[in-house]
Symmetry: C2
Subunit: 178 residues, 2 copies
């Protein structure tokens, strides 16, 4: 267990992510929504679909496995690119609304569990990493949101890599890669 | 001139930044607002103050110099750390409101100029870089917002560097530095 993780603090960020994305991407020109950092990189629109897929198949479903009674607590692998198919033909506004709905449900589920320290220490099995705790899963869910918010900023910023001229030297985001 | 910059698109992002920060930081626990990445790095609260100082002394004031009639178009240097003093004793909510007010004024000023391509090609003199165009200044203003949004995400994510356990391997944001 780590002293740095508090469920109420993680929850405060998890609740806000859909609102942040709505404020940022709602009604934004397509040039920003669909910009990528090059081949095999994601646009803000792709990120939205990925976050939706995470709500549907990753975070709460994995927490359920940890908290459940099954003998085998191995998580199914998470498909990081499922959103390319699932988002096809949808608008960003539809995805924003879907994500907001799903995240609100996820947080309601989390609240309903009234997790204590003993619960947070329970374990599941990650298909690549082996044993992980519920606390680590919830910290990762939160950090994962933040990682993708930063990725949205980065994909958009790189669009102006040349346009900023000599200021590029001050904009380290332009050179950050995964 | 570059084909990648369109004023209406830049404006769409500039307008949204205060709303994004309000959705993200409004009412957020202090543990997130004041987290830094270590000595001499900025918290989300510090970033807010820095953005306010930019509205007051950097972006529109520099554009005014470019568009003005003075023979010497050298920008005064921008004080990147002025906010440490200016933000002292203020709440994040006060800073969020101040930034929203200032940014709205900045965008109104920008709109009032009805800038065309000839205006965007006009030049000023950056104290370190030499000649820069208004187009570069406006592209940098936009990218600068995005850089600091990514920085906010990064400062908060690093708080969970240890808490995420083995998932850290998937969270490249944790290892991104300026």
């Amino acid at each position: 267990m780590s002293d740095g993780f508090r469920l109420d603090e993680a929850r405060a960020l998890l609740l806000r992510t859909p609102r942040v994305l709505e404020a940022w991407l709602g009604g934004l020109p397509d040039a920003w929504l669909h910009v990528t950092e090059g081949a095999s990189t994601w646009s803000p629109f792709d990120v939205l679909g990925h976050l939706i897929h995470g709500e549907e198949t990753d975070w709460i479903p994995r927490a359920r496995i940890i908290l459940g009674d099954a003998a085998d607590k191995t998580f199914p692998p998470f498909d990081r690119t499922a959103m390319f198919e699932a988002s096809r033909g949808k608008s960003a506004d539809v995805l924003l609304e879907r994500f907001a709905t799903l995240r609100a449900e996820s947080v309601r589920t989390l609240d309903g569990w009234t997790l204590g320290d003993a619960d947070l220490a329970r374990r599941g099995v990650h298909p690549a990493f082996g044993e992980v705790t519920l606390r680590q899963l919830l910290a990762t869910w939160t950090a994962h949101d933040l990682g993708h918010l930063a990725q949205v900023a980065r994909a958009m910023a790189k669009r102006y890599r040349e346009e900023v001229g000599p200021w590029r030297a001050y904009l380290s985001l332009m050179d950050w890669k995964d």
